[in-house]
Amino acid sequence: MSRAPILVFGWGNPARGDDALGPLFVDAVEAMGLPGVECLTDFQLQVEHALDLEGRSRVLFVDASFGAPEPFGVAPLRARRDDSITTHAMTPQAVLQVYRDLQGEPPPAWLLGMRGERWALGDPLSASARRHLDAALHWARDWLTRPPA
């Protein structure tokens, strides 16, 4: 099965205020209709998401972040065993490590963290998070259409 070379994977709970940033980002990228880009979302990163990385040339993980710089931060990811797994959810580094253990070297991956501030159940997206989302999408259009380095 051939797969789109670029995967954009966002996660978060759309019912919890700025936690919706990840899924909203992915929805917006999907609406751009960029060639060679596949979009996936989930509530949380899970171990089976390692299988979604197979056959990609690069991966962009996207999440809301409490500690990211404003409006957003992007950093390359390295596979790393994660002993701070506190729930069913995993870190993207740990997902990459599972890929390495099962399949070999994972594709190059980056984490885009958009700064958020409100997380309560039923909260709408905050005004500042909306601005951070717009800024991140502006950056992403360029990154997603740039030829691989």
Binding site: W11, G12, N13, P14, A15, R16, D18, D19, T41, D42, F43, Q44, Q46, V47, E48, A50, L51, D63, A64, S65, F66, G67, A68, R81, D82, D83, S84, I85, T86, T87, H88, A89, M90, A94, Q97, V98, D101, L102, G113, G116, W119, L121, G122
Partner: protein, 488 residues
């Protein structure tokens, strides 16, 4: 009322407090506090649920037809259970007393896909690190990444079983998460021939791997019966849903409960009347309520739900491999109810096998391709939906006004039903392993192992980076902080 070790009998200033906060490898944020004296004698153990969910209020005022989709946002792990329990309650509201065969079978397929993926996640990803490496093994290894490194074949099977369950959900609900397949009165899609063929292609492999998973947990019991039979073991009542003929049915049926000796407490109860059976007690130290059978009172009437309860509550399992395994399970316990906390894992794997076999049978049923999807009847104002979710009996109860807006919602989630049982389990383990001993990380993990066996889902899926810190605090007998560690 208070149970043994729930509240310390002596003044708190002479006791030191050990906190496990949050409990790891469970869903959401809970914490355990243990009060010890200077000789490490255990005086109090509590599992606190420290997140306030507030989801019932969130639903009030919304149009009823939105509810099956909204409630999925309770949880990133078992959204389908909430989706279906809400749909079943709203079936009552819209007067859909009997769904079309296509609708019922599509929902069943979705539900058993959910059971398969959730049980696989729990066993392989969350619990197998403890079971394969040991409860006090190196902490950095005790996670799925450690399992993938040491036992790649087991990890790969766990991942592929879960992935298959997610694919069943995607084809029946429309998406892996936030699906819209089930609606009040039925479903909004049937299964295409291509989807059916794709799922059929791998289902026999899933059955084979599920049989292997039962074998793994059975062997663990047989290798160390002293541990598996005694760890956190205590007698309790059991409750679950069964088909009218007494066989295991995780989608629909009647309520049955047994006491600790296996005698029937009630049977063939219509779950629309659940609120005449169950009272939810509130305690000041936890956000999670403590349900009990009203007729027996809080001291005698609390119960367990989930795989251990279900596999022992039913008279049979209607698929051949799982029924064979149920009989072996019953035989292992000598025909008496098994009350071992670690028995949950064995029962859970029998259910995973049942789910895989049921999916195979459903996929061979032509009704899945039908076009008659939704029914309606006399509109009502109140409905209860119950489903056997992966973790246990799940109640959704709604009242809806003439304007179609929800005026009342009450949810008793599976983990709430197991609240007293989980507290009893951690107290038993504390008595067995901590009392009078030096407290180490490995021993504290024993407490978590007991909680994890119930596969609790303590809240829902908020997890933004930096918002789920781990904090462990150690105080001395005078209440002074000796150590505090953070991780995020």
């Amino acid at each position: 009322m208070s149970f043994e070790l729930e509240t310390a009998a002596v003044a708190g200033e002479n006791l030191r407090r050990v906190a496990i906060d949050p409990v790891s490898r469970v869903e959401g944020h809970g914490k355990v506090t243990i009060l010890l004296d200077e000789h490490n004698k255990v005086h109090q153990v509590r599992l606190h649920i420290v997140e306030f969910r507030g989801f019932e209020r969130f639903i009030q005022g919304r149009p009823y037809w939105e509810v099956p989709v909204m409630v999925q946002r309770l949880c990133g792990i078992c959204p389908v259970s909430h989706h279906l329990a809400a749909s079943k309650a709203l079936d009552v509201i819209v007067g859909a007393d009997r769904l079309t065969p296509t609708a019922e079978k599509m929902r069943r397929l979705m539900h058993y896909g959910q059971i398969l993926q959730s049980h696989a996640l729990h066993f392989f990803h969350l619990s197998s690190p403890d079971l394969l490496f040991g409860f006090d093994s190196e902490v950095s290894r005790r996670n799925i990444v450690g399992v993938a490194e040491k036992y790649p074949d087991i990890a790969r099977r766990g991942i592929l079983l879960r992935k298959y369950g997610q694919e069943v959900i995607r084809h029946t609900a429309g998406k892996r998460v936030h699906g819209t397949g089930s609606v009040p009165g039925g479903v909004n899609k049937s299964l295409t021939a291509a989807e059916r063929a794709e799922l059929l292609k791998d289902v026999y492999q899933m059955i084979a791997w599920s049989r292997d998973a039962v074998k793994i947990i059975k062997e663990l019991h047989e290798q160390n019966p002293a541990l598996y039979d005694r760890f956190g073991t205590f007698p309790s009542n059991f409750m679950g849903m069964v088909a009218p003929d007494g066989s295991l049915d995780l989608y629909h049926g009647v309520l049955r409960a047994k006491d600790a000796a296996g005698n029937i407490l009630f049977d063939h109860v219509d779950y629309q009347t659940y609120d005449t059976l169950i009272t939810e007690e509130v305690k000041p130290w936890s956000y999670m309520k403590f349900p009990y059978f009203t007729s027996m009172g809080p001291e005698q009437g609390w119960y367990r739900v989930g795989p251990l309860a279900r596999v022992q509550n039913c008279d049979s399992i209607p698929t051949p491999f799982a029924e064979h395994e149920r009989r072996e399970f019953v035989a292992y316990a000598g025909g008496k109810p098994m009350h071992a906390t670690l028995g949950y894992h064995w029962a859970r794997m029998i259910e995973m096998l049942f789910a895989a076999e049921t999916i195979k049978e459903l996929l061979h049923d032509d009704a899945l391709a039908g076009s008659d999807l939704v029914v309606a009847g006399e509109r009502r104002h109140e409905g209860v939906g119950v489903i056997e979710a992966p973790r246990g009996t799940l109640f959704h109860h709604y009242q809806v006004g003439d304007d179609d807006l929800v005026t009342m919602a009450n949810l008793i989630v599976s983990t709430t039903n197991n609240n007293q049982a989980m507290n009893s389990a951690v107290r038993e383990v504390a008595k067995q392993y901590l009392d009078g001993k030096e407290i180490t990380e490995g021993l504290l993990n024993h407490i978590e192992v007991a909680i994890r066996a119930y596969d609790p889902c303590l809240s829902c899926a908020t997890h933004a980076l930096g918002k789920m810190p781990l904090e462990v605090t150690l105080l001395d007998a005078g209440g002074r902080m000796l150590d505090r560690k953070y991780k995020s």
